[in-house]
Each structure stands twice: as C-alpha cells, then as structure tokens.
C-alpha cells in the first residue's frame, strides 16, 4: 500500500466540464463521477433540485499522488470561485495490484 490523496468535488453538472478539464490539465486523467446527487448548498435550499430544470449536481472523486494536489488545487480554485461548488482533499492508502 502506498500513500495517495483523494480529491472530492461537488458541483453543478453544467460546471463539470470545466472542472474535469482542470483535472486533465493538472495531469489527472482518472476519475469517477456520480451524477444526479441531490445537493443543498450555500445558495439557498435546493441549489440544485436538478430534475425539472435540467440542472443537476455531480460528485467527482479523483485519487491522485500527493505531489499532484498542490497544482491541481491552483487550477481548480478559480473555477470554483467563479461557478461555485466545493473541493476537499484527504489522505488515503492506495492498494496497488502488486504488493509493495
């Protein structure tokens, strides 16, 4: 097992493309998106009921190396500032296919 970082982002799916492009730019090309989550955020109750409005919230998880975190955050921050949404970083241990 080997130390790694989990990046979690929550944002309107409409903003997603920009965030994912940001990840890509930071060299993170593997990630998982959970669509159609329900979110209550800073912009009042049901910032994103989604449904009828074609807006919906997405939850993105990307595991990366500890070194990638800093530059990724630099890239994501202005997007989050402009469009809203949140981003959190935490520690994990990666289970590699080959024992280490």
């Amino acid at each position: 097992m080997q130390p790694a970082k989990r990046l979690e982002m929550i944002a309107d799916s409409i903003e997603l493309q920009k965030l994912l492009a940001g990840l890509q730019k930071a060299g993170i090309s593997r990630y998982t998106v959970i669509h159609n989550v329900e979110g209550w955020g800073v912009r009042g109750i049901m910032a994103s009921t989604g449904d009828v409005t074609m807006l919906d919230t997405a939850y993105v998880i990307a595991f990366c190396t500890p070194e990638q975190v800093q530059s990724t955050v630099e890239i994501l921050r202005p997007i989050l500032k402009r469009f809203g949404g949140s981003c959190y970083v935490s520690d994990v241990m990666e289970v590699k296919s080959n024992p280490d």
Binding site: I14, R43, G44, I45, M46, T49, G50, D51, T53, D56
Partner: protein, 331 residues
C-alpha cells in the same frame, strides 16, 4: 370572463396531477419521482413537441404567415428581457436582473401544451407550426440576457466582467444547450421526414404524450411547492413581478398577434409563449454564463409562481382578452 373556462382548463388530468404534486409537499407526503426520471420525461417532451411541430411545419410549408409568426416570436423574446431588465434592476443587481429577464423572455413548453389542450377542449383551431415559434424563442432571450450583463454589470462586486464577452461560449449556450438542441433537432427531423416519419413515431410521440405530461406535471407540482419556500426569502417584489409580468407580456403579445392577423387559436398560443418563463433551457444557460446570479431567484419565480399562475388564471384570462380583441374582427 367565463368561470367555466377556468374550471374546464383545470379539470384535466395533467393539470390536476400538478396540484396533486403540490399537495403532496404541503401535507408532507414522501411522494417523489427519483432522478433521473424527470429528466427522461423532459427529454421525451422536447423530442415529442419538436418532432410534432416539424411534421406540422412540413404540412403547412414555410409560408408567409409562418415566417411572420416566427419573426414576431423572436421579436418578443428580444423585447421582453430588455424591458423587464430595467424593472428588475430597480431592486436587484444586474446579474440577477439579467438572468430573470432572460428567463421571462424565453418560454415554457409545458404551459404551451396546456394551452393547446385548452384550445382542443374548446374546439378552437390552431396551427401546428406555432411550435416553430416556441423553438426559436429560447436562444434570443439567452443572448439578450448576456448582452445586458455585459452592458450593465461593469464594476460590480465580483465584477471581473470587464473582460470582453466570450461570444463562443454565449452562442454555444444559446444554441447548443442540450434542451434547445434536442428541441430544434427534433423539429428539423420532423420537418424532413414529414408524414412518413409521423406514421412511424405517432404512437410514441402522440399517444403517450399526455401520460408523460401527467407524470411530468406531478413532478413539477412537487418541485414548485418546494420552491415556494425559497420565494419567501426573495420577498414580495419578485413574487409580484412573477405575477404581473405574465399578463403584461401576454397582452403585448396579443396586440402584436392582432397586428399580424393571427387566428384566435394561434394568438392564444402566442400569448402564452410571451407570458411564460423558462425553467429548462435558460437556467442551465444562465448557470454557466451568469454564475453570479442566484438560481433560486430565476428558477423559483418561473416555476413556483409564473407557471401555476399561467395554468390557473393566465390561460383563461388571455382567452378572454382574445374574445374582446378579435371581436371586431369576427363581426
């Protein structure tokens, strides 16, 4: 104004299911339509409305009245956001004003459909190509909304809006946002395949239509009722706006409809297009291009006030206006 008109408008299943949805929220039932089912219904309705409109356009041909109607529709979708912007601006910042203005310049397809059921019930004829007008009223409103932001949001807080408008982004959102794209694309396919295509898809886009609409309105009732809580925060100004803008816009629309000699049936549909506000295409576009605006404001006023107002009061009211305005014509 004939009260039985109001009733007959309300006593049809889709509309009643809208109220059932609202009731569910008020009595705290846990009824809900899980995502992404509502999105499936939205996609279906856009496809069905567009396709049907395209087939009817193929039948009627792109004649002079069709072009005139479309031009009038585009005109209204440009005019409405401009004038409403200045009214909204008296109380709200430029971002929110522009986003709400764009919302009201655009249209609600479900309101349009309810109005056509109303006409069916009264056996008043109308032209299928009115859907083409509907399809072309989304994009201009979005563009005007963004130009308004550009012109009037200089130097505001968060106002890094001194950078030039990114027209690529704007046109992208105005013309290629998923809902607009599907609606216009289906219209084109309907137009291209005409009667033969209609034959293939009729059981799906026609026979299922009111059923899906019923489900969709049940969900809209649920959402609208939840949104009403949002509105309590926004205060009385926006609620007032959401109640007054529709009849004003409808009346402007009717005068224009009268001027270009639309039939009474077409005039009602035109009025409803002017009176209704978008909660599908425009919010998605605004979220991306005017992220400074608060979605609660533009979504909730369109969905929780203007939509039910048009359904309950608006449609019969505009019909009553038509009875007055077109009278001279008929006699």
């Amino acid at each position: 104004m004939d009260f039985s008109l109001v009733l007959s408008n309300l006593l049809n299943p889709p509309v009643l299911f809208f109220f059932l949805g609202m009731l569910a929220v008020f009595v705290k039932s846990d009824l809900e339509i899980p995502p992404p089912i509502p999105k499936l219904f939205s996609l279906y309705l856009l496809l069905a409305i567009g396709f049907k409109g395209g087939v009817e356009l193929a039948n009627s041909g792109i004649t002079q009245p069709v072009i005139l109607t479309i031009l009038a529709a585009i005109g209204m979708s440009l005019l409405v956001p401009i004038y409403t912007f200045f009214i909204l601006r008296t109380r709200l910042d430029a971002y929110n004003s522009a986003a709400i203005a764009a919302t009201y310049g655009s249209i609600s397809a479900v309101t349009f459909i309810t109005a056509s059921s109303f006409l069916n019930a009264l056996e008043i004829p109308y032209d299928g190509y009115m859907v083409a007008a509907l399809a072309l009223m989304e994009s201009p409103a979005i563009i005007i909304g963004l130009i308004l932001v550009k012109l009037f949001a200089r130097g505001m807080e968060g106002g890094d809006r001194t950078e030039p408008i990114n027209w690529a982004d704007v046109l992208q959102e105005a013309f290629l946002n998923g809902s607009v794209f599907l609606l216009v694309g289906s219209l084109l396919i309907g137009y291209l395949t005409g009667e033969q295509g209609w034959h293939t898809l009729k059981p799906f886009v026609q026979d299922m239509f009111y059923g899906v609409l019923t489900f969709f309105l049940l969900d809209m009732g649920l959402v609208a009722a939840k949104r009403i809580q949002d509105l309590q925060k926004t205060g009385v100004f926006l609620i007032g706006f959401a109640l007054i803008a529709p009849p004003v816009n409808a009346t402007l629309g009717l005068l224009l409809a009268r001027a270009i000699a639309l039939s009474p049936g077409d005039a009602l549909l035109f009025a409803v297009l002017c009176a209704s506000a978008s909660y599908i295409a425009v919010p998605a576009a605004m979220r991306l291009t005017v992220p400074e605006a608060n979605p609660s404001l533009y979504i909730s006023s369109a969905l929780a006030v203007t939509f039910p107002f048009n359904i309950i009061v608006g449609i019969p009211l505009y019909q009553y206006e038509i009875a007055l305005l077109w009278q001279g014509n008929l006699s």
